[in-house]
Assembly symmetry: C2
Homo-oligomer: 340 residues x 2
DNA sequence: AAAAAAATCGCAAACGTTTGCGTATTTAAA
DNA sequence: TTTAAATACGCAAACGTTTGCGATTTTTTT
């Protein structure tokens, strides 16, 4: 009883045609209630499990959705995944998950693997290295339903889900200003990323509104190596004209800043205030506790999944129109931006 | 050019039989180098992508591995996933990922979905609610290769990967004792879990070795609701005969303890020391920084994947023998267990 | 130069489903 | 009672691969 029983064998056992059994199990109107009962009970008795590949081959769909994220060790993406799984699982869909580790080459390879429709649809957040998007347009041209979240790809005319990046960054730096910061730095990963562009805009506009001149060297873009980031942030903090406030566009860089601060004699929030985009659950337990801009990650995941499910179950009635849906973040003020 | 080209169409384009094209693409010795070149270049030109379901149907394997974890928002499991993906991806395998959210009913449902061999193999860590394992034995009887890590299921005779739970717990409580703790509590999730059994043994033996009598009420098993846990831990800390040291068997409960402590006038490590099993990356940034027993999560994931890949690529030469492979954890002492 | 061996390719079946269509039986309408 | 319609089921094709086996051509051996 290793490999289970097939539809044919089940049919033979019942002295019925495979087609009849298939229809019975799929609750077709062409089959009498009596035989339906028989079939179903026999199927249960023999623990019949339909072969998913035969079905996928025949129906040209796999009830599978692929998710591509830039990193896994990050609460934000983990929460988004939970949101996606919550609604896809409800509809019997499976999840193929891939992490690019912020590597665009790996992203290309993964995307290439998905061209054969192993998954019915894709939801993704692009890597920080991604600037050329030809591999993504190829997917789109293959008519593979694809949607983006967080780090979106504006070149592809599809639906995207993001948080209010501009507004949140604006409010975040405004908060720093209100707390007395005069020289505010902005930490970012790649400047190609949609989120850094938007968040940087918000940062600049907030400075502008307050009449603060943006210092070019304060818009600092970091790399993927934590040690290097700690080094360069340390250097920034030890410089003559050091910032007294920081808006970090990603959690990783706020953590790096915490480490960097420990290499100086500065103290948060006395000498330096910091607020960051982050979904870290232990932000309130850090020393000092960290003010955060928290994305509605679970909701983003849920909404992505809902839309995709709708697209896959009612293809005629739903389009993945080219629009960006914004779900606002929540700002939580903690010790790291207090006035002392 | 929506759905791509099939092998037949590619063959027609080349005036060759599908079988020839198939063999050419699979680099068969039966095909001349000349036609191989032709076929490959035409395949590339037309961007031929083999249908994975046809292949899976025919070959009865999908190059897919399913991973079942109890929760996603947890660095340990995320790191294990990264380890698994690193080696599976290298061998062209795909990953179906499922989270049970510590819910055994969800676990049963997922396991049931996998009976049809949608995945070639399974690697899992059981939910904390899991005591009846009939759904897992059913998988095993179906001859579905399955291995466990961390929270293992001893009833299934297969290979398991764990850390040195007993030894680490022993060393952890021994450390607490050396730091002066006399009344040490042990926080756990379900007592059914393999990891709580082993870690609890280590805890008890360490107490025993030091001549400390184990207080029954100090072996506290918590639930899945964080608020409730904070409440009960708070109560424990406010009780007459409160502990002065805590060994937490999972990260979640250490975090709950940090929250609970803030509801009292106790201070860590002055009044209470704590060490926990945890792979949290920001343990060193907490207030106070948290002493941890860190599992080799990435390695565990890699080893799981290596073994499974070996089993799937050389089925005759490898057995998933009933053994438990132990990879030691690393203890990092931080402020939360300092003597003051 | 004839026979044997090797190289190269095509035919057709098989994997396990679903579904259009045809057919036989039963029920309802005339 | 005859005819029409509805019900219930089976046949066979199709999805896109891989592969055993046979057939033809080319090369090697004797």
């Amino acid at each position: 009883m290793s490999n289970g029983i097939s539809l044919k064998e089940l049919a033979a056992e019942l002295n019925l045609a495979p087609s009849t059994v298939s229809r019975a199990l799929n609750d077709s109107y062409e089959i009498s209630e009596a035989t339906k009962k028989k079939v179903v009970s026999m199927a249960e008795k023999l623990n019949y499990q339909p072969n998913p590949f035969a079905r996928s081959l025949r129906e040209n769909k796999s009830k599978t959705i692929a998710v591509i994220i830039p990193e896994r060790i990050n609460n934000f993406f983990a929460q988004v995944m939970d949101g996606i799984e919550e609604v896809t699982h409800e509809h019997g869909f499976h999840l193929l998950v891939y992490s690019t580790h912020e590597d665009v080459e790996k992203e290309k390879k993964i995307v290439s693997l998905l061209q054969n429709r192993r998954a019915d649809a894709i939801v993704m957040s692009v890597s920080s290295q991604t600037s050329d998007v030809s591999h993504l347009t190829k997917l789109y041209e293959r008519e593979l339903p694809i949607i983006f979240f967080d780090r979106i790809c504006s070149e592809i005319p599809t639906t995207k889900f993001i948080t209010n990046d501009y507004e949140s960054a604006f409010q975040g730096t405004k908060h720093l200003i209100q707390q007395g910061c005069k020289k505010i730095a902005f930490l970012m990963l790649s400047k190609e990323l949609s989120i850094t562009k938007e968040r940087h805009r918000g940062y600049l506009d907030a400075l502008n509104e307050a009449g603060l001149a943006p210092e070019p060297t304060f818009s600092m873009h970091c790399c993927l190596n934590e040690e290097e980031n700690i080094q360069s942030i340390t250097q920034l903090l030890k410089s003559q004209n050091r910032p007294d406030g920081i808006l970090s566009s990603v959690e990783k860089l706020a953590i790096a800043t915490y480490h960097a601060v420990r290499k100086t004699d500065l103290r948060i929030p006395d000498d330096l205030k910091i607020i960051t985009f982050s979904n870290m659950s232990s932000a309130g337990l850090l020393s000092p506790s960290l003010s955060t801009i928290t994305q509605p990650a679970l909701t983003i995941g849920q909404e992505c999944a809902k839309l995709l499910i709708k697209k896959l179950t009612k293809p005629k009635h739903t389009d993945l129109i080219d629009q960006t849906i914004v779900i606002p973040s929540q700002i939580t003020i903690r010790e790291s931006t207090l006035v002392r």
